[in-house]
Symmetry: C2
DNA sequence: TTTATATTTAAGCATTTGCTTAAATAATTA
DNA sequence: TAATTATTTAAGCAAATGCTTAAATATAAA
């Protein structure tokens, strides 16, 4: 079994390359899942939604629209993406649908959100 | 000063909406910075690169190309994006350029990468 | 100084993303 | 029941993303 290589440098460590490939293989499912959550949180609007949900526990689409000054459909589509992968869950109360962070991802998201720092007020 | 509202429901808590807007305002710089890093890590290829850098300390573009079985230019462009915002740094050794996770973001990325779990080997 | 190697850069292009507007659902109220 | 309100869905479109190929840079070796 020959190893396909891109560079021919003498220092290339073929053992290391193979080990890395094996390592990646052993975590592929986990990497895929986490990077999917990261991609969702990597959008600033969605990150703000998660930040707000963490602070307020639950909010509805039109709350987000008011707070973020965006259209309701735009918000709804962001919420849908996060709901589709169970990052957030819903609860209906009459016509209002409340969103909250799902238990499943709470710890992971809390760890990330805890890196948010408040700015000092200037004058 | 009148508050622009999307929904007219009686339960809408205008105090909460205003507080949320103020809260967001107080963390806007931080949110912007973190969600930018998240967006970078949200790409599966880049997330794998970060995972590999964490394990191997430093690697060069052609290592990544071999490990991830991708073209060198494709890898190079991913590395550039992360270098542009100082998520990773470089060191030259002859013709080879070694990349590593920057000190500045090491803790944050380690926290995220620590959520990666290894899969059980089946049979 | 020519040649080879490692990397980056740039142009081109298909795919994805995130909004807008308009229409469809669903629950409440008159 | 009809009208109102909250939300979702869908179509359309501009902008961003991530690859490919080809060319440009930079260092090292012949």
């Amino acid at each position: 079994m020959k190893l396909e290589t891109s560079c021919i440098r003498a220092e290339a460590d073929h053992t290391q390359i193979l080990r890395c490939k094996e390592d990646l293989n052993a975590v592929s499912t986990s990497i895929e899942a986490i990077s999917k959550i990261m991609a969702l949180a990597g959008n600033e609007v969605r990150f703000k939604i998660l930040f707000l949900l963490k602070r307020e526990t639950e909010l509805c689409p039109c709350d987000f629209a008011d707070i973020l000054e965006m259209s309701v459909p735009a918000i709804s589509q962001h919420l849908r993406k996060m709901k589709d992968v169970n990052v957030i869950t819903t609860r209906r109360d009459g016509q209002t649908i409340f969103y909250r962070i799902s238990k499943k991802n709470e710890d992971f998201l809390t760890a990330i959100l805890s890196n948010i720092t408040f700015e000092k007020k200037i004058a």
